[in-house]
Amino acid sequence: MTNNGLKDEIKNLIMEALNIDDVNPEDVGDDDSLFGEGNVLGLDSIDALEIVMALQEKYGVRIDDKNQSRFILKSISTIAEFIEKNRTK
């Protein structure tokens, strides 16, 4: 899969895991910040845990703790980079 294909797949996975139906995946920029003020999805720390578990189920990657997740879940691009390096599925 191309990197862009993977990014689209991750966007769809997040939308599905969090039941977000009022934002189009195309409206989320690859480098947009996913958390904190002004993020288009309005995510919080519980959403982060939902995303961590969805990524583990789909790609077989484990993100242990917040120290790791706050860097990995910065944006769609950082998640894609992590998945490419570590996926087991």
């Binding site: 845990l49 583990q56 993100i63 242990d64 703790d65 120290n67």
Partner: protein, 334 residues
């Protein structure tokens, strides 16, 4: 020697590891955690606490004392009645080029974002040096070395309340030339497994997990209102995932310890046990998420809390089996 700052999952294990690394001993945070028998469970209800609470690791300070005892490191430890003496002792050590670990109130670590800072008296940092009136601090939760002003550090070291630090500092003064890792690792494993399945105390170890499962169903009777209950239920997620646990209430860090121990001792049995506790960690994480979800939605009826209790009880079953097997393995490797 320049102090190498590294982030770590947990402040106490991270600080002990950083000081040992600086002193020339190459050891990882999970090994420090596992050798010290850091993995634990305790469920506490007391008039001293405003609400029942639980812990997933041993008492603050026991990571240092446990690892010191088992690998033979000698730490110099000091507490102070006087702020001036405490400050002077720290400054003298720094002037001599010694990084020093300090117990602090987390709230005063003003280089971290405001929303994460709460009053907790058992946050450990390494103070690396003093430049003018400012301390250079290595905090496991900060991506880089940070600066902390003198007044904040004094307030943090001499904060009042439970577990008050009283200026507590420590640093290694001797490291053994050779370490019997086999002995240290198995001793740490036996101690942790004993605490989890053999201690005859109804609120500790697996018995504590079962008590938690039983009592959580009754938490509505103890809460002021639904907002309070929701807050307490969501704290289950925070205690398991957010407070420097390395994820899933330290279960992931313990799995990493067993994997690293397996490599160090060339013991495939430990790798199998690592995989098992990693899977148990995944199931604890499901509890974190479930608690966070029902708390956020205020979906806290007796059926939901019953589900939560059943999930917790299933972890007690898993951990009872796991730690009994681990203890058996530990005894066979003596």
């Amino acid at each position: 020697m320049t102090f190498q700052h590294k982030m770590a999952a947990h402040c106490e294990s991270g600080t002990v590891t950083a000081l040992l690394n600086h002193a020339g001993l190459s050891i990882s945070e999970p090994l420090v955690f596992g050798i010290s028998a850091g993995i634990f469970f305790g469920y506490f209800e007391s008039k001293k606490f405003p609400f029942p609470t639980f812990v997933v690791r041993n008492r603050p300070g026991q990571i240092r004392t446990g690892v010191a005892k088992r690998i033979g490191v000698n730490f110099k430890e000091q507490r102070f009645r006087s702020t001036e003496k405490g400050e002077h002792a720290l400054d003298s050590l720094l002037a001599a080029g010694n990084p020093v670990a300090c117990q602090t109130d987390f709230f005063y670590m003003n280089y971290l974002p405001n929303h994460v800072r709460v009053h907790i008296n058992v946050h450990f940092i390494t103070v690396v040096e003093k430049r003018g009136g400012v301390y250079v601090v290595s905090d496991c939760y900060s991506p880089t070395l940070a600066e902390l002003d003198r007044d904040s550090l004094v307030k943090a070291r001499f904060a009042g309340g439970s577990f008050s630090p009283r200026g507590f500092i420590f640093y290694p003064v001797s490291i053994p030339g050779s370490i019997d890792y086999r002995k240290a690792i198995w001793s740490g494993i036996r101690s942790a497994a004993f605490n989890m399945v053999k201690l005859p105390i109804p609120f500790i170890g697996v018995k504590g997990i079962r008590l938690f499962a039983k009592k959580v169903v009754d938490w509505p009777k103890l809460a002021r209102d639904v907002d309070h209950l929701s807050h307490e239920i969501m704290k289950i997620n925070i205690f398991l995932e957010d407070q420097g646990t390395g994820g899933a209430g330290f279960r992931f860090m313990y799995a990493t310890f067993l994997r690293e121990a397996s490599e160090l001792l060339n013991d495939p049995d430990l790798l199998e046990m690592s995989k098992r506790i990693m899977e148990i960690g995944d199931r604890w994480r499901e509890i974190s998420l479930f608690a966070a979800r029902i708390g956020k939605r205020r979906d806290l009826g007796s059926d939901r809390l019953g589900e939560l209790g059943a999930m917790i009880n299933a972890r007690a079953d898993d951990e009872e089996l796991f730690f009994r097997d681990l203890l058996k393995l530990g005894k066979s490797k003596k």
